[in-house]
């Protein structure tokens, strides 16, 4: 069984009630604008007190209404985060705008 390279779950509104249903687990997430353009790819690491829920609550507080999100529970949150960033860069030629402000050291990936 192969792992999906891209995160392609349906978008959900970045709203308090949606976020409250998230698990407190480790993982990765994407935040997009209302049209579905990815603004940021993030990770919920072991320092986030309630994992994905804490991280998305912080995103909602900082961004306000009108955005969307999707998550993936993943114990390998760091390597998956790097992978999603590299795949986005390969697909779009650049990082999502909010990752590009402070880019982590990334490699080159040319996915099929």
């Amino acid at each position: 069984m192969s792992i999906r390279l891209r995160l392609d779950k349906p978008w959900r509104p970045l709203a308090a009630d949606e976020i409250a249903r998230l698990p407190g687990q480790l993982g990765v997430y994407q935040v997009a604008d209302a049209a579905g353009a990815i603004l940021y790819i993030g990770q919920a690491g072991a320092r986030a007190p309630f994992g994905l829920r804490s991280e998305l609550q912080r995103e909602q507080k900082e961004r306000g209404d009108g955005c969307q999100f999707r998550v993936e529970v993943n114990q390998q949150y760091r390597t998956r985060w790097f992978e999603l960033l590299m795949v986005h860069q390969a697909d779009h030629g650049s990082l999502p705008p909010d990752n590009a402000k402070n880019p982590p050291p990334l490699g080159r990936l040319s996915p099929n």
Partner: protein, 388 residues
């Protein structure tokens, strides 16, 4: 053989131990538990410190500008460098320099100018491309990547798997079959620039080592000139074998370092923790676990230093390197496992480094030649070369 450190070795050990405790561990405490990189500014600052200590480029031979440190001392220092959360795979976050398996000291002068010297100066990074989807333990038979002669050069087609750093490196050394009829005598080692057309890093491979990924590579009509052959055509297996044998000694040392750190944590916890009105340290079940830890560590340390001492003297050390790798990776795994057991629930959490060591130590029984291959090497040695 006397493995007690000399006065000079002890001074270096103390120096590295202080560096780990005073510089690395405080910074690490602020990072994600699975992090494998320091902030670039911190990294640069610590590299200056290791240079000031005279220990930067610790694996680099003296004739190439490295510090004049023999392999026994190197092992003693590697044991110290591994004693922190990320220490098994990124000892001291790479602040002591080095190029690992991809150091190409057998390169010709032109290749040294283009690859080796920039790598030793820290300007280029390299990867080591041996393992393939068809297997890694038996490279002589498993290598299916082909290199065919064409237009004053070679065209590579095939795939590599579980390759670290290939997406970030400027070049790599890649093993390909150049003569299908000759088994291990039909493999050649090539230096491949990462921007060569036809070279692709296709995907990230996620493993237990969630701090750092491996990659899968594809070579699709990837043409390289004759100047990119490392060593001689059809003699690449010796290059791989030499790397893997030499690497087993420091690889074992890293396992010992982590085992010592886990064992020290377990001792401290056992003396402190009270259950049912008694310190854990007073319970025989816990005492025996700690004794078994001590035996595993001492055994691995003895065999690893024995292998290093033989290598230092220029004696054959293949069997000793296999015994060292085997005892350190298997014993180290047991030590971390027992230390987690002594810590109870806390041992399972990411609050402590034990869970990361547990996952990463498991890989060590497979990486750089699995335990079964080490046993096979030892069996061949003691039973004779006719063993099939």
């Amino acid at each position: 053989m006397d493995f007690e450190p000399s006065e000079e070795q002890q001074m270096l050990i103390d120096q590295v131990r202080r560096f780990v405790r005073e510089e690395i561990i405080p910074l690490e405490a602020q990072l994600d538990p699975d992090a494998s990189e320091l902030d670039p500014a911190d990294h640069a600052r610590l590299v200056e410190k290791t240079k000031a200590m005279g220990l930067f480029g610790i694996d680099i031979p003296k004739e190439y500008g490295g510090p004049d440190i023999d392999i026994v001392t190197r092992v003693l220092l590697a044991i110290e460098m591994a004693q922190h959360r990320a220490g098994l795979y990124v000892p001291c976050y790479g602040t002591f320099g080095g190029a690992g398996l991809a150091q190409i000291f057998e390169a010709n002068e032109d290749q040294k100018e283009r690859y080796l010297y920039p790598t030793l100066r820290g300007e280029k990074k390299a990867f080591f491309g041996l393992t393939e989807p068809s297997g890694g333990s038996d490279p002589a038979r498993a290598i299916q990547t082909k290199a065919e002669r064409r237009e004053n050069g070679w065209v590579l087609n095939g795939a590599k798997l579980y390759i670290s750093n290939a997406d970030r490196a400027q070049y790599g050394i890649v093993f390909a079959r150049t003569d299908a009829s000759k088994g291990r005598a039909g493999i050649t080692c090539f230096i491949i620039d990462s921007d060569t057309p036809g070279f692709h890093v296709r995907r990230v491979v996620h493993t237990l080592r969630s701090s750092h990924y491996a990659t899968e590579l594809e070579f699709k009509d990837c043409w390289v000139s004759d100047h990119q052959v490392l060593g001689e055509v059809n003699k690449g297996f010796a290059v791989a074998n030499d790397r893997l044998t030499r690497q087993r000694i420091p690889y074992a040392a890293g396992c010992i370092g982590v085992a010592i750190a886990a064992h020290e944590m377990a001792i401290e916890w056992a003396k402190m923790r009270t259950t049912f009105g008694e310190k854990l340290a007073n319970r025989q079940a816990v005492q025996w676990m700690l004794v078994d830890n001590e035996i595993d560590i001492r055994t691995a340390r003895h065999f690893t230093l024995e292998a290093a001492e033989k290598a230092r003297r220029g004696l054959p050390f293949k069997i000793e390197a296999s015994i060292a790798k085997l005892t350190a990776s298997e014993g180290g795994g047991r030590v971390v496992d027992r230390s987690m057991q002594i810590h109870g629930g806390m041992g399972m959490t990411k609050d402590l480094p034990l869970e990361r060591w547990y996952r990463e130590m498991r890989i060590r029984r497979v990486g750089e030649g699995p335990s079964e291959v080490q046993r096979m090497v030892i069996a061949r040695e003691i039973l004779g070369s006719n063993l099939r």
